[in-house]
């Protein structure tokens, strides 16, 4: 049973306590130990007259029950006197219950000034006076509880109570403010909207209803709120007839117009649904919360304008979801033929553009770079993906200008990923200009092509926005052109060009062309663009080699018909820049103006292939035999049997569970005579599960154990920390592995290839090579060392063998691989001990005295080696990284290729979700949110809208998401198949949630999809 809530020692004022609610409050508080000032004027419920008897009767009832109370007969308008009674009688005041009230119900048209004034005076002024008189006392003692009595009539309105309703809701505002001002001093203020049968309500409610609405059903809430342990403040409650509930404000999500632009009546009208819909409503509970949308709007900055056709605020910067496409030799040939190449099939340069078996290799005509970008934009449009805020039809669009840049010569086939965004929107007065940037990346993620597609949108301008930079550029100089090429465009050119992807009937269908106002089908602007590109390349690229082409900028000024003659006039502005224009000979009109082509000085090479290709060739030739995991475990077995001290140190029994192919191994590095054996053990302390391939990669230094673990490729159970002791695997001499390989008849092609050499992987543990690189770096930074130390050291390392000369005697000192005869001091040590010594894990003195470090020559000089301890770790790491990058790039390229990527889950999952949503619209109510998914590996983005009246799943992003969930495609698959829970993924950091995290609780809709 809950403990009794008591009010011992507390003093309360209850106004209007002669009867009804006030009396019930007073009796309840007094029965629990409070001393009560029972205030009642004793007037009628309409506020007339005055009599002491009502208050006296209540006081008498309290006293006879053993409580303490005093009567007060003042009007609440004389609030100070009521407070004075409390202080004089009881010496303190803790609780003020403003309850007194009257009614003057009358329809508004009949309401008099007096009706209004009386109600105001008792309810509003009275509550103010009493509370105001009590306030300094409550503040001073740092404790107070105040109740203000409002009414449902005030909250919702009630016929005939305009005066009363105004006063009552006014009091709620009053109380909310006092709650804020009083909080710091522990004064809590709450408002109740009670309904109870009392003298006041007898006039408006039927008698049987009043019987159910006992005042005693209200008082427990009042008492709960004024108790010292209550923390509630600033709240509003509806109470009565056994019902208790807190009330709050609800606000529609609403509509935000960016500030700084005109908001028309029509704009408000159009947004009416948003303004009035309570879907995703909010519950502001303070002025700050109320202001929040406004502040956020101001923070966004002034509007950039727009109109019905283009809303710049919504459109500008929009990023389209990435889209993929590919092309091959056939596409290049079709394009080249479409723009007039190889009319002379004996011209070897042109033949190279269309013939994939050309002896000099096929080359791409670089203006082809525009084709995949335009196709990508068309594909996106077909999928219905377009920037929000762009509401114009295709009929308004003119392809005005085009800029295409290739970052290096286009390969003859490629798989491309295109990323497009709205880069600029300019207001050109009558029309608008929209520049869409498309960047295309190759399979290695390396950027290959950039396009700026400039569209002129007729009739869409005029919102007073920025005009953008002047486009009056690339004007031909006054002199005669430096070169001119004239070429007649064949009658069937458009029919050929459209095979490259622009299927608009305007270029093929005579009737269609006539219908839209042309005499006959017209040539694609981009076809003449390709002609012009060819002309410039033939005249100015070195030897006419298209690989020197870098970029082209052009404006489409006039329609060209197939069969007309194109005259390209070119001016060489510099070795790498040609300004040009194209005229139509028959009509003396300029078809392409303000145009220029830039050339590379040197043909750039792709980054990712420059180093990879020769290595690949080399490794094909060498193709060394690879060790099997059995070889490694055999080596571990031999190593542990030969090195009892390792067992003494590691003291752990490991179980390895390998998959693909499956095998189980026990490595006992705990018990004397332990080793590695196939099969399970009863009591492994630490179990490691991974694929056979990953195990080999880990043991040969190609993969880092920690990374395998954190990426989930290696799972560890049991004593996780014991896995750190697996470092000993690195100390196993490679010869042991090779022996095992030989024993099974797989002779390694080259010893170096099969050794577990850590330097083949950039992220592996250091080797002596790394240490010497770091020493070399340190010596280079400290030329004074040579003068100080005056010694030539030679290190002879074993297991695996290597030798290094550290010369700290001659010149500025040097560190070189190999031996020298001029050594002053020679140190012989194993690789493992050397690493321990230089990393501080082993003491050189101990190694020396135990015979593991042999020193010949000047033994005392070895003491000068303590400069090794002073090498800055960060600098050493940086030096090693640099050296590895320079020297070992080729080696790391030999690392195993990832297995063929499995098909992505996400596209299937979200397609299935769309269907599920269509079949089961109730799903929307279970989720009630806009959920944005950002999927990685491979990347993708989807928005599942469970909020709007028309729920939908769409590829792309949204800025209206309730929550954004980021996860890998593989993890999405696990989620869908029920193999992982959302909570688990979240706790592991594999599911990232931005926005409302709790949306992730409701991902059940994904289960079983696809």
């Amino acid at each position: 049973m809950a403990k009794e809530l008591r009010f011992d020692g507390r003093v309360a004022i209850v106004t209007g306590a002669g009867g009804g609610l006030g009396k019930a409050h007073a009796l309840l508080l007094a029965s629990r130990g409070a001393k009560v000032v029972v205030n009642d004027l004793g007037g009628s419920f309409t506020g007339e007259g005055k009599s002491a008897s009502a208050a006296d009767r209540v006081v008498e009832e309290i006293r006879s029950a053993g409580g303490e109370a005093v009567a007060n007969y003042d009007s609440v308008e004389d609030g100070a006197k009521i407070v004075e009674t409390a202080m004089k009688t009881f010496g303190r005041l803790d609780i003020v219950v403003n309850n007194a009230g009257i009614l003057r119900d009358v329809s508004f048209q009949k309401m008099t000034d007096d009706d209004w004034e009386k109600i105001y005076r008792v309810h509003v002024l009275g509550t103010f006076r009493v509370t105001h008189a009590a306030w300094p006392i409550l503040r001073e003692q740092g404790y107070g509880r105040v109740i203000v009595t409002a009414s449902a009539a005030g909250i919702y309105g009630n016929f005939g109570q305009a005066n009363y309703a105004a006063a009552k809701l006014g009091l709620f505002g009053f109380a909310s403010t006092l709650a804020l001002e009083g909080r710091k001093k522990n004064i809590l203020v709450n408002t109740i909207a009670p309904i109870a049968g009392s003298r006041m309500t007898e006039t408006v409610l039927p008698p049987e209803m009043i019987a159910a609405l006992k005042p005693e059903y209200v008082s427990p809430l009042v008492a709960r709120l004024v108790h010292e342990e209550s923390e509630e403040t600033g709240s509003l409650f509806e109470v009565g007839g056994g019902f208790f509930a807190k009330l709050r404000w609800e606000r529609a999500k609403g509509k935000l117009f960016r500030v700084g632009r005109q908001i028309r009546i029509e704009d408000v009208d159009q947004a009416w649904d948003q303004i009035t819909s309570f879907e995703n409503a909010e519950h502001p509970d303070s002025v700050a919360a109320s202001m929040q949308p406004i502040l956020a709007n101001v923070e966004k900055g002034p509007s950039q304008g727009g109109n019905d056709l283009i809303d710049v605020d919504e459109s500008l910067g929009f990023e389209f979801p990435p889209i993929e496409s590919s092309y091959d030799e056939r596409d290049l040939a079709v394009y080249a033929l479409g723009v007039g190449a190889a009319r002379d099939p004996l011209d070897t340069r042109d033949l190279q553009l269309v013939y994939e078996m050309h002896s000099g290799g096929m080359k791409a005509l670089p203006t082809y770079g525009v084709v995949p970008a335009i196709s990508a934009i068309l594909d996106l449009a077909k999928k219905g993906i377009q920037p929000p805020g762009m509401h114009y039809g295709l009929d308004r669009i003119l392809h005005g200008e085009q800029y295409t840049e290739v970052l290096r010569p286009l390969p003859t086939n490629a798989k491309l990923t295109h990323k497009a965004r709205v880069k600029h929107i300019w207001d050109k007065g009558k029309g608008a200009v929209v520049v869409t940037e498309v960047k295309s990346y190759d399979e290695h993620g390396e950027e290959l092509i950039r396009n700026d597609v400039t569209m002129f949108i007729r009739g869409a301008g005029g919102w007073g926005g920025e005009r953008g930079p002047s486009s009056d550029i690339n004007n031909p100089p006054a002199r005669a052109p430096d070169a001119v090429v004239q070429e007649r465009i064949p009658e069937n050119a458009a029919l050929l060009y459209r095979l490259s992807g622009d299927w608009n009937p305007l270029h093929a269908d005579p009737e269609f062309a006539m219908a839209v106002g042309f005499q006959r089908p017209i040539l694609h602007g981009l076809c003449s663009f390709g002609y012009a590109g060819r002309h410039v390349i033939s005249k100015f690229a070195p030897e006419g080699n298209p690989d020197f082409f870098k970029s082209i900028q052009a404006r489409f000024a006039e329609t060209v018909y197939p069969g007309e003659t194109l005259v390209t006039e070119m001016w060489k502005e510099s070795d790498t820049r040609i300004v040009f224009r194209c005229k139509i000979a028959e009509r003396d009109k300029v078809a392409i103006s303000n145009a220029a082509i830039e050339l590379f000085k040197e043909v750039p090479k792709p980054k990712s292939q420059a180093t990879a290709q020769p290595t690949a060739a080399k490794s094909e030739a060498a193709a060394p035999a690879e060790p099997l995991s059995a070889d490694i475990f055999g080596a571990i077995d031999a190593f542990l049997k030969a090195n009892a001290e390792v067992v003494g140190k590691v003291k752990t029994v490991y179980q390895f569970k390998l998959s693909a192919p499956a095998s189980v191994w026990t490595v006992d590095a705990k018990n004397a005579g332990g080793g590695a054996t196939p099969g399970e053990t009863q009591k492994p302390q630490c179990t490691l599960s991974m694929s056979d391939g990953d195990f080999l990669a880990m043991c040969t230094g190609k993969a880092d154990a920690m990374k395998l673990f954190t990426s989930g490729k290696m799972k560890i159970s049991g004593d996780v920390l014991a896995s750190q002791k697996l470092e000993f695997l690195r100390k196993i001499p490679p010869d042991l592995v090779i022996e095992r390989m030989k024993a099974r008849g797989a002779a390694p092609a080259g010893k170096a290839e099969a050794q577990p050499q850590a330097e083949t992987a950039a992220d592996a543990s250091p080797t002596s090579w790394d240490v010497f690189v770091a020493i070399r770096d340190h010596v280079g930074r400290h030329p004074e060392l040579a003068q100080k130390i005056q010694t030539v050291f030679v290190f002879k390392l074993a297991d695996p063998p290597s030798a290094w000369t550290v010369d700290l005697k001659n010149g500025k000192g040097s560190v070189e691989e190999g031996e020298t005869k001029k050594a002053d001091c020679t140190l012989a040590i194993t690789e493992a001990n050397f690493l321990d010594m230089t990393s501080g894990k082993a003491d050189s003195m101990k190694l020396f005295t135990s015979g593991k470090l042999k020193i010949s020559g000047n033994v005392m000089a070895s003491q000068k080696l303590n400069f090794l301890q002073k090498i800055d770790k960060e600098e050493a790491k940086a030096a090693v990284m640099r050296a590895r990058a320079a020297g070992a790039a080729g080696k790391s390229a030999a690392a195993s290729q990832p297995a063929g990527a499995a098909e992505a889950n996400a596209p299937k999952v979200f397609a299935a979700l769309a269907q599920r949503l269509a079949e089961n619209p109730k799903l929307k109510d279970e989720v009630q949110a806009v959920v944005q998914f950002r999927v990685k590996e491979p990347e993708g983005a989807w928005v599942a809208d469970f909020s709007s009246p028309t729920p939908a799943v769409q590829e792309g992003t949204s800025d209206k998401a309730t929550a954004t969930l980021t996860l890998n495609d593989g993890d999405l698959g696990e989620l869908v198949r029920g193999e992982a829970s959302a909570q688990d993924l979240f706790q592991h950091g594999k599911l990232r949630a931005d926005g409302d995290v709790t949306v992730a609780h409701r991902l059940g809709f994904l289960k079983g999809l696809a």
């Binding site: 522990n186 560890i716 996780v720 750190q724 979240f986 706790q987 592991h988 950091g989 949630a993």
Partner: protein, 393 residues
């Protein structure tokens, strides 16, 4: 009836970044001298000393105390992870309370190295292996600093449970910086916006760099005595310890169900409950709090463990401003571990120092108006949590 124990002198040195501080013995001797001066007594009056630190060889405590005086008194070296400082205070309090000493010193110091905390002893059972095991089962293990993974993991669990906004975590750090701006002893005194905090590099979701306390060097000292000792030395109306409790782990820390529990929630809650019961005061009576905000997530959890709000209520508390000036409490007026810094052994004593200044009205620009009751919460994983209530008058 146990004797009343007073805190009559406190002192500390400005906290510094690793590498920028004086050696531990110099820092500690300065703090001890400041505390002696504050109390108005000489070193020879001290009958016992408790010295807290975790990084350093044995008997660094003696070495630090010897700088100030060599009177042959007992010196105990105390090591209890991040709760080391308050553990030293607790031992000193017990000595005075039990009548074993009239006046005792608690000093904490730490000379830390750069970077996140790591283990020095890889050849033996790791004392945190239970904790790491729980964490590995619940969320795996990665390259982030282990402490950030633990408290960050608790933060994840909390976010999942209550849908807490990222901004709420950041606001804790924003508040810490705002407070630290007025604390001359603090390491980071530059204010940061919520945006800056969220934009700093992510250490372990949801924690960004500015939501993690920095490795710090520093020292603080406190002198505790009996009523008789105070009277004899004319010390009027000193700050006194109304209640103090330490708790270590319960099975709930390791039952593998909760990162929040693993990160010491039940230790803190039980220690706080014990303190409230013994003192007869509740959270509402407290004016000012120094609590263990090693990471922003732990400040939120500590609000709940200390009973400032119901479970799940920390976000509201933050946005209501009930953790700063003008609200129900001021938490970490000194800037806390996040901004003042966290020299591990010194932290608990530095918290005490701040609260003593607050109760005496000596906290200058960061004074909490009319502070009468102060609460200290100092948590170390491994684990120990010490909660202390101080009063004046």
């Amino acid at each position: 009836m146990a004797r009343k124990v007073n805190v009559i002198g406190v002192g500390m040195v400005n906290f510094q970044k690793p590498g920028a501080s004086e050696p531990y013995n110099v820092m500690a001797s300065k703090a001890i001298r400041a505390a002696l001066k504050d109390a108005g007594i000489g070193f020879e009056e001290l009958e016992q000393a408790y010295a807290g630190y975790i990084y350093g060889d044995s008997t660094c405590g003696q070495r630090a105390v010897y700088e100030v005086g060599q009177t042959g008194i007992p010196v105990f070296n105390v090591n209890n992870n991040c709760a080391t400082g308050s553990s030293a205070i607790m031992l000193a309090r017990q000595a005075v309370e039990a009548g074993a000493a009239e006046c005792a010193l608690a000093v904490g110091f730490e000379q830390m190295q750069k970077g996140a905390l790591g283990s020095m002893w890889n050849d033996r059972t790791n004392p945190m292996d239970f904790h790491v095991g729980v964490m590995n089962a619940l969320q795996g293990f990665n390259e982030a600093p282990p402490a950030a993974q633990m408290f960050g993991g608790a933060g994840r669990e909390y976010r999942w449970k209550y849908g807490t906004k990222r901004e709420t975590f950041a606001k804790v750090s924003e508040k810490a910086r705002k407070h630290a701006a007025k604390d001359p002893y603090a390491l980071f005194r530059e204010e940061l916006s919520v945006e800056q905090i969220l934009a700093s590099p992510e250490i372990f979701d949801p924690l960004t760099r500015y939501q993690c306390c920095p490795p710090t060097c520093g020292s603080a000292a406190a002198i505790l005595c009996s009523d008789e000792f105070a009277k004899k030395h004319g010390i009027d109306n000193p700050v006194w310890i109304a209640a103090q409790a330490m708790r270590t782990d319960y099975p709930t820390s390791f039952d593998g169900k909760s990162m929040i529990k693993m990160c010491g929630y039940d230790l803190a809650k039980n220690a706080a409950d014990a303190v409230y019961q013994k003192s007869g005061l509740g959270p509402k009576d407290v004016d000012v709090i120094e609590l263990h905000d090693c990471f922003t997530s732990n400040e939120l959890l500590s609000y709940e463990a200390l009973g400032l709000c119901p479970e799940g209520g920390a976000e509201k508390l933050v946005w209501d401003g009930d953790n700063t000036y003008g609200g129900k409490w001021v938490t970490n007026p000194s800037g806390g571990l996040l901004s003042k810094g966290h020299p591990i052994g010194a932290t608990g004593v530095a918290q005490c120092t701040e609260l003593v200044w607050q109760l005496r009205g000596q906290a200058e620009a960061r004074q909490v108006e009319g502070a009468k009751v102060a609460l200290q919460h100092n948590l170390g994983l491994g684990g120990a949590c010490v909660v202390t209530m101080y009063r004046r008058g």
